[in-house]
Amino acid sequence: MDQLPIDEFLTDLCPFEKQLDLDDYLGEAPRWCQGCGDLGILTAVQKLLRDNQAEPTEVVCVSGIGCSSRFPYYLKAFGFHGIHGRALPISTGVALANPKLKVLTVMGDGDCFSIGAGHWVHAIRYNVNLLAMVLDNEIYGLTREQTSPTTPLGTRTRTTPKGAFLPPLNPLQLMLGVSNLSFLAQTATWLPQHLLATLQQAYRHQGLAFVRILQHCPVFSPQAFGEGGKDAELMEFLYHVQGIAIDPALERFGGRREHDPADLATAQRLASEREREPLGLLYQNPDLPSYETIRHAALAHPSPAEKLTLLNRRLDRLAPEG
């Protein structure tokens, strides 16, 4: 038997020493602006993977195009910087091809709700196993300040210099209306504990877990979401035993309301009333089977014996008559 000095033996025994830590998920140094909410989300995702002790080689981060979509460069894991609006179909492919991988999809509001809207709806309906995040800063950041679907009415941008003409799209309301939605939560960059707790719950979910993360872009949309959480009147935490825990330190950022995430009708009402931005788990149905499961069950998986018979029949056709 191998001999080990006692201290090494003990460190081997002690799980605290050997674990993956935050450094194991550091990719390139981020090139986002200082103060950008994307930085905090990156940290939260790194903590999420660390807390779950996910091997970087078993994680794939897929994104579209935008500031937020630079995410895969900065996270040490497999990455796929896709094309504008197409992060979800690419992620679907990755998830179906290798169900063992944990797929993290990162999109901007322009990326997902605008050019990617078609894919967005269908990905939710397909309910493939992945964790989808939209980093919503109510603006196109990378291309320098154009109106996005969530830009508030009247906001002056380079594409609407006289102010946005339309009221913004309500992504929560839309998603809560899509058949087969299985998980929808909302959180924000200025609530680090809530952000991490939400991602944790989404990570554990089987099916497509969609998390909208509110943030402001200090350069082009500094006013978004009450200057990034400075107005508690605009926000409301949802609490429930099946929901997301609220750290007492966060109380000053918004009111509270009890909401059962199994209750779709109330979630729809909450989202459509739009009095305050709900923060927490809006809806979760853990019993919905994922697309992988349904597809696997529906397709034939011929046994070796069956394959043999089929092959036999085919060869029979080639055999000479008689």
């Binding site: 002690c14 605290f16 935050l22 981020p30 200082q34 103060g35 950008c36 909410g37 930085l39 905090g40 990156l42 940290t43 790194q46 903590k47 960059t189 200025w190 680090p192 504990q193 089987q206 200090p218 990034g228 959480g229 400075k230 609490y239 035993v241 099946q242 825990a245 609220i246 750290d247 007492p248 330190a249 966060l250 853990p286 019993d287 998986h301 011929p302 046994s303 070796p304 014996a305 069956e306 394959k307 043999l308 018979t309 092959l311 036999n312 060869l315 029979d316 055999a319």
Partner: protein
């Protein structure tokens, strides 16, 4: 409380059924799919002699994907047997969702037996799943696995498997004397079984104390007692703490034995349980041995109101006009909740021999001679002055001792210098030297302030009592600000001059660290702390506070009075104090 717990039990374990079925399906599915298709194929195409193909050769070619062909007859039979057993359990689980087993009786032998039956059922299931997995992978070695798996018990289960088993919850009878409850808890927790013991604290019997008796005669001390076991999960809580339901679930789902001591109130008035928490009579504590190797990492007391101070205070109007800040102690609890009115004597007006209870408790024993402290209570909108009995005073003292002990075990009273040192790049000696110098300076400053105050030069403002003042002195060393734990108490001089960050709320946005890396650094959790408040000009700290995306940097006062344009920066800093 019982009803609320029932709701938590019912809702909290809902997902177990699904998870267990998923776990079973993961092992069973490949065999079942193969069996199904095998039967189907045989039904459709009964094997017939084939003139053109040698079926045996083809079967050989397909060997890799043919489960059965990998197994010998004996192996296949074992697999079938195991599969049938798992199938039965699956049907039972489908039929009835697994729920925690609640036991209301306290006989260790019977509990042990109930545990073996409850966990034995699941252990057998997981053993069978392992046999199935090993067989399918062609890794089942009879000479190795036969004996190992026949002696399989719940002890062999992994944490992940344990997490799929609904726990066994024992309700501890708390109406018995504390010795008995504690002895029973100790007996049960040291059986080596991961039992979940739940004590609903209803009748707080307060022994008449002389101060000479051993502590731990007080029922709520059960939680503190649990800490001494070190490897048990302990939760002590009242219903109104944040995320109570999740806290209870976390304790129940821990793979370890757990002791839950929950306040069940003495009536319907929610203020009673708030007072139990605020008066430190029944402080919140959570000890999760999974979190680290030292007590500070495992113990959490942050959900108590003002966890960094000795007491929680209330402002009450004085009978003769004006108002007084009053700490909530055991005395208030005894008056309002326990209704021990006979332990109090009324007083018209406090004289020189009547210090306030908070002041009294901070005094050394010899200073207390001939003094009778008073408390203020507000009833029906009227404030009354009362003298608590000696018994009550001893209880106050004892609760204070418990709270201080918790604070120091949780590291809430003084941040660990080691941790602060580890977080820096500078050499430990350099830092230790700086901390020592800073502490000396702080003490000198504090003495000066104190003597000025004693001479009546400044109005006394030490609202939270002497110990906090001491705490704050420690706060002066930068270790405190860099741990980001405690904001300096309000009203005290000196410490609040230092900049501090509400580290828990830091979003890791890089603003402050980009402004000055000698002042601001990230801690292990990538949240900003102040490494060295003298690492750069006050200007940098104010700029960081202005830029901070979470608005959590509080600049304090400038440390270098000679800095340029200081008046301007102090003005700009005001908004963020």
């Amino acid at each position: 409380m019982k009803q609320r717990l029932e709701k938590i039990f019912a809702q909290g374990f809902q997902d177990l059924q699904q998870q267990l079925l998923q776990r079973i399906a993961a092992s069973l599915e490949p065999v079942e799919a193969w069996l199904r298709s095998e039967q189907e194929a045989e039904r459709q195409h009964p094997p017939a002699p084939d003139p053109y193909l040698d079926e045996r050769i083809l079967r050989g070619l397909l060997r890799e994907i043919n489960i059965r062909s990998k197994l010998s007859h004996a192996e296949w039979e074992r697999l079938e047997e195991v599969r049938a057993r798992i199938d039965t359990v699956r049907a039972q689980i489908q039929d009835q969702a697994p729920a925690p087993l609640l036991l209301d009786q306290n006989d260790p032998a019977q509990i042990q037996q109930a545990f073996e039956t409850h966990y034995g059922y699941y252990a057998e299931l997981f053993r069978d799943l392992r046999i199935l997995d090993l067989s399918l992978a062609g890794e089942y070695l009879p000479e190795l696995h036969d004996s190992a798996l026949s002696a399989f018990s719940w002890k062999e289960l992994t944490d992940r498997e344990m997490a799929l088993i609904p726990p066994l919850v024992v309700f501890l009878a708390t109406e018995r004397p504390l010795v008995e409850t504690t002895a029973l808890a100790l007996k049960l927790l040291t059986t080596g079984l991961p039992l979940k013991l739940l004590a609903l604290q209803q009748n707080i019997q307060t022994p008449r104390e002389t101060g000479r008796a051993l502590a731990h005669r007080f029922h709520p001390d059960l939680g503190f007692f649990g800490l001494s076991l070190r490897s048990a999960y302990v939760l002590q809580a009242t219903e109104d703490i944040e995320s109570f339901d999740q806290e209870v679930m976390a304790a129940l789902r821990s793979p370890r034995p757990a002791l839950l001591s929950l306040w069940d109130g003495t009536g319907d008035d929610p203020r009673q349980s708030q007072l139990a928490l605020a008066s430190r009579v029944f402080p919140y504590l959570r000890y999760d041995p999974e979190l680290g190797l030292d007590c500070t990492s495992c113990l959490e007391i942050g959900k108590n109101p003002h966890p960094e101070t000795a007491w929680v205070s209330e402002i009450l109007p004085l009978p003769g006009g004006g108002e007084e800040e009053r700490p909530l102690t055991f005395a208030e609890f005894a008056w309002h909740v326990l209704d021990q009115k006979e332990e109090f004597a009324p007083l018209n007006e406090p004289g020189p021999e009547n210090p306030s209870l908070a002041d009294y408790l901070e005094m050394e024993t010899d200073e207390r001679h001939h003094l009778r402290p008073y408390i203020l209570v507000s009833e029906a909108g009227e404030t009354r002055v009362l003298l608590p009995s000696n018994n009550i005073l001893y209880q106050c003292q004892d609760r204070m001792r418990l709270w201080r002990s918790l604070q120091s075990l949780a590291g809430a009273d003084q941040p660990s210098e080691d941790a602060a040192v580890a977080a820096r790049e500078d050499s430990p000696q350099e830092i230790a030297g700086r901390i020592a110098a800073e502490r000396e300076q702080a003490v000198a400053q504090a003495l000066q302030t104190l003597s000025r105050k004693l001479l009546g030069l400044e109005e006394m403002e030490l609202a939270l009592g002497g110990e906090d003042f001491k705490l704050d002195l420690r706060g002066l060393d930068e270790a405190l600000s860099s741990s980001g734990t405690a904001p300096p108490a309000t009203g005290a001089a000196g410490p609040s001059d230092l900049p501090w960050i509400e580290t828990k709320l830091c979003t890791a946005c890089d603003e402050c660290t980009n402004i000055n890396k000698r002042i601001f650094v990230y801690d292990k959790e990538k949240q900003a702390v102040i490494k060295n408040p003298r690492g750069g000009p006050f200007r940098d700290i104010v700029k960081a506070a202005e830029k901070c995306s979470a608005a959590i940097i509080h600049p304090g006062k400038p440390l270098d009075p000679k800095e340029k344009d200081l008046a301007k920066w102090i003005k700009r800093a005001e908004k963020y104090q």
